[in-house]
């Protein structure tokens, strides 16, 4: 007889850093990310954000879904899965990518780590094993979810390189954006990639769960004089909006969760045309995207600079004739841009650069609701984009 399995008793798991994150979380603010307990904030959202933008901050990334893809057809498999040309992601490099369903609607976005010959890791916010196994038909690949086998921290901010040097990672400043390298760490391998979700200089650290707590401790020792703070999801969310990054379930609905087909978005409709390589002979969604390209897209994702200081959360977007043309997907007051900023999805043909749009913002002061119509300007690129993000060698502040 099979031994009874008790796994179901633990509905929500702790990350390998939990003993440390729990000690640091003086606010005791938590939420659930892919069935893991993670901190919303540790001590003060604004201060965590300030540490990130002015010194550096560490974020527990462990619940990020990680898939390992190996085998003779690993590259061919990934090239059929995602919209970009994976052959251009060289060994020891990381590539941002997204994948679509047959209709060319985005399922999720993520990063591909080219770990070695026929050896890749695909990271995504959502669980994707089912879709990967569906896509596996006809390919000689092995696909395994290894989320629990890899602990991960994001170390982000201007002093992040300095802290890693202090940790003893010699030469880390020479690691180029989207490159990765391995360092020995207390008897195991520490994989460091120059990647992140904050739009700033930053790194992601990948290690065996057994060494997670030790890494956390050593990192905080190294960062003691460099302003290192732990950072929760709320501060991360602020930084990713400033960077203009999109998030599944917030800025687009993953196609595999949609019931109403008009709620999904294509890569073109998410301003991610640069991730789509239609010269590849085939990938899932290519034929539909070719059709869309010929026919024209229905939506457009725009980055908005909103007049005034009221965050345009959940606001309807109007054109100058007061027609509703879309809605805000995320918005905030950006301390770095000193502006009220927003991402919005608008119907075509609205949202061309420098077009005047209006946001209808409802806000509350002491339980009294008010409304303001704020003029919006469509802007290109990130709201906050410090040059150090791209510099190699990285500035050693």
């Amino acid at each position: 007889m099979r031994a009874p399995r008790e796994h179901y008793r633990q509905v929500v798991r702790q990350t390998p850093f939990h003993s440390r994150t729990a000690a640091a979380n003086v606010l005791n603010l938590w939420h659930r990310w892919r069935d893991h307990t993670v901190a919303d904030a540790y001590f003060d959202v604004a201060l965590e954000y300030t540490a990130l933008r002015n010194a550096c901050a560490v974020f527990d990334l462990s619940p990020m879904t990680k898939h390992r893809i190996t085998g003779a057809d690993a590259l061919a498999f990934l090239n059929r899965l995602v919209t970009r040309d994976v052959a251009k992601i060289r060994p020891d490099r990381v590539g941002y990518c997204l994948w679509c369903d047959d209709q060319g609607r985005v399922i999720d976005d993520g990063t591909i780590f080219h770990l070695g010959k026929n050896d890749f890791r695909l990271c995504s916010q959502e669980r994707q094993l089912d879709w990967l196994l569906t896509s596996k038909l006809g390919f000689d690949v092995t696909i395994r979810e290894e989320t629990e086998e890899v602990a991960a921290l994001a170390l982000q901010g201007p002093t992040s390189c300095r802290v890693l040097r202090q940790l003893g990672l010699a030469g880390i400043e020479n690691l180029a954006p989207f490159a990765m390298t391995t360092f020995p760490f207390e008897g195991t391998d520490l994989l460091v990639s120059r990647t992140g979700f904050t739009g700033d200089l930053g790194y992601e650290l990948w290690i065996a769960p057994s060494h997670a707590e030790r890494l956390w401790d050593r990192l905080f020792e190294a960062g003691e004089n460099h302003g290192l703070k732990p950072m929760g999801t709320l501060a991360l969310e602020m930084s990713r909006i400033e960077a203009g990054f999109i998030q599944a379930g917030v800025d687009f609905l993953p196609a595999d969760r949609a019931i109403r087909t008009d709620r999904t978005r294509s890569p073109f409709e998410l301003d991610l045309a640069w991730l789509v390589d239609l010269t590849k002979p085939n990938f899932t969604g290519r034929r539909a995207l070719l059709e869309e390209q010929a026919r024209g897209s229905r939506f457009r994702l725009v980055r908005l600079d909103v007049e005034g200081n009221k965050p345009a959360r959940d606001a309807y977007i109007y054109d100058s004739k007061r027609t509703v043309v879309g809605a805000v997907t995320c918005a905030m007051w950006s301390p770095m841009a000193k502006a009220s900023i927003a991402l919005a999805s608008v119907r075509m043909p609205w949202g061309s650069p420098d077009e005047e749009l209006w946001a209808e913002i409802y806000y509350q002061k002491e339980l009294k609701w008010s409304r303001v119509n704020a003029r919006c300007r469509v802007v290109k690129g990130a709201f906050y984009d410090p040059p150090r993000r791209r510099l190699t060698p990285a500035p050693d502040l």
Binding site: W131, T134, L137, G138, P281, N282, R287
Partner: protein, 517 residues
């Protein structure tokens, strides 16, 4: 010749030949590549043993498309019938068999109530089947409407159903997905009659009489213009030969012994085929008469398809459950209660629905039936040229013997043959001593010899989950495949199998109209 370039048809099955003939008549340069050394796919007349020829697999003609017959002038190409309309004789181990002749019960051990009810039942079923029949020659509507005019063909189907009238429409909608067993229980009381009708509903499918959908498969069998199956002169192979002759006359070239190994792709377009020999043949369009799995999984490769679409093809249900027994007999066998003149008709062994259900049970669990259901013809009775004087060939479809038996057919084939012969001996005492040669083709043998995945004669179950706009799978029901330049034209497409030729005709139209999925 038009400047459309060469069109390659993979497989000279009846649908491939029909498609080739239509395309050639429209001015296309058509090359048909057939793996075997004979045209016809599973509709061939083969020598079983010296002097004895019989239908290798398919043995009766139910549904041959009259439009195809007329358009291609098949009569002028040699198609003739030795028996244009066969009676069905349901064998009775205890004595007098039941004889069904069109919508009449000619004779047999049935109650007078059944005798009266039968005519009304068949007439009604034929009215319902005609609704399906009217869809055969239409390219199925798109499920996801891109334009409003896509809604029109779907509306036509609804209209056809509505035009049955209030009472018939209600009844049609009530029974269409029902098990045939329940419908027969409502309608009749004689076991032999119910057995014969339940066999019609389930033969060639992985359904038992108590399975849902078996009324639909019954109606499909009735959906052709003919009231009863027929026997072509020279066996089923003669149909294929006539089609090949019509295709050649129209200008198509047919190359035998040329198995296709794979499709050639340029970018996202099929631009030709590669043969087993390595020879490459360029084509502007490739039309495959092979089944959907063979075409898309093996010849094209799942990696050239969208992931979800590839999964749908993988999940296509195509486990064949019918085996084929071909016998060379030293003399005319004597079936209980059947006179010699009647031996040229269609004989069935399915004494009651329960018998069929019990024969079906093992198939659910990857085993074969020890007391199977049989559909028997002795074509040499009406077509003496098939066997030496005084001798005969017997052809029997044996069900249920699923493709995927757990023990593997190599160890089971002899036992199945033995079981069928034993069963035949019960109905035709002495027949075993008359056997000169016996050939048993399991679904696995049919897969190997005729290159049909799962050995399924419809290239995939023909049930409501795999019919019309869902056939073979949604997104591929309009003959054009997702990869440009590739089409399907076989039984795996609407309207399905059973030597109709309609799929080939529709596919040719899709190719010529350049219609998209």
């Amino acid at each position: 010749m038009t400047d459309a370039g060469r069109t390659v048809v993979i497989g000279a099955g009846h649908n491939g030949l029909v498609c080739a003939a239509y395309l050639a008549r429209a001015g296309r340069e058509v090359l048909v590549l057939e793996a075997s050394h004979q045209v016809g796919g599973a509709a061939v007349t083969r020598e079983l043993v010296r002097g004895f020829k019989g239908p290798a697999v398919a043995h009766l003609l139910y549904l041959l498309d009259p439009v195809v017959q007329q358009d291609l002038g098949l009569a002028a190409h040699g198609l003739a019938f030795v028996k244009p309309s066969l009676k069905t004789i349901a064998l009775n181990e205890a004595g007098e068999p039941l004889v069904l002749d069109g919508n009449q019960i000619a004779s047999g051990p049935v109650s007078s109530a059944d005798r009266t009810a039968y005519t009304g039942f068949i007439d009604r079923m034929r009215r319902f089947a005609a609704v399906l029949g009217r869809q055969h020659g239409r390219i199925p509507p798109r499920l996801a409407w891109k334009r409003w005019r896509d809604a029109l063909p779907a509306g036509l189907i609804a209209l056809d159903i509505r035009r049955l009238g209030r009472e018939d429409m209600r009844e049609f909608l009530r029974i269409i997905a029902m098990p045939i067993h329940d419908l027969l229980e409502e309608s009749f009381e004689s076991p032999l009659l119910k057995g014969a009708l339940a066999l019609d509903a389930t033969l060639g499918t992985k359904l038992g009489p108590r399975s849902g959908n078996s009324v639909y498969t019954y109606l499909h069998r009735l959906s052709g213009p003919a009231a009863a199956p027929s026997l072509p002169r020279g066996g089923m192979g003669a149909v294929s030969e006539a089609l090949a002759s019509a295709a050649r006359a129209a200008g198509a070239e047919i190359r035998l012994g040329s198995p296709v190994a794979s499709l050639m792709l340029t970018g996202d377009r099929v631009t030709g085929v590669r043969l087993d020999t390595g020879e490459q043949i360029d084509a502007t369009a490739v039309i495959s008469n092979a089944d959907p799995k063979t075409t898309l999984d093996r010849l094209l490769g799942a990696r050239h398809l969208e992931a979800e679409f590839a999964r749908r093809i993988q999940h296509l249900r195509s486990i064949g459950t019918a085996a084929k027994l071909n016998l060379a007999l030293a003399a005319l066998p004597a079936f209980r209660g059947v006179d010699a003149a009647q031996l040229g008709e269609r004989l069935v062994i399915a004494p009651d629905p329960g018998y069929i259900d019990e024969a079906f049970n093992p198939a659910k669990y990857r085993d074969w039936s020890r007391a199977p259901v049989l559909e028997i013809t002795i074509p040499s009775v009406s077509d003496p040229e098939l066997a030496p004087p005084g001798k005969h060939v017997l052809s029997a479809i044996v069900q249920y013997a699923p493709y995927d038996v757990a023990a593997g057919w190599d160890t089971q084939r002899d036992a199945l043959r033995e079981a069928v012969l034993k069963l035949l001996e019960r109905y035709a005492p002495g027949i075993r001593k008359q056997v000169v040669a016996a050939e048993l083709l399991t679904a696995a043998d049919i897969e190997r010899q005729f290159r049909i995945s799962g050995g399924h004669w419809h290239h995939g179950e023909l049930t409501l989950d795999q019919f019309m706009m869902l056939r073979p799978v949604s997104g591929a029901s309009r003959y054009a495949m997702p990869v440009a330049g590739l089409y399907l034209c076989g039984a795996g497409c609407h309207p399905g199998g059973g030597v109709m030729g309609t799929a080939g005709r529709n596919a040719a139209r899709a190719v010529l109209e350049g219609s998209s999925r």
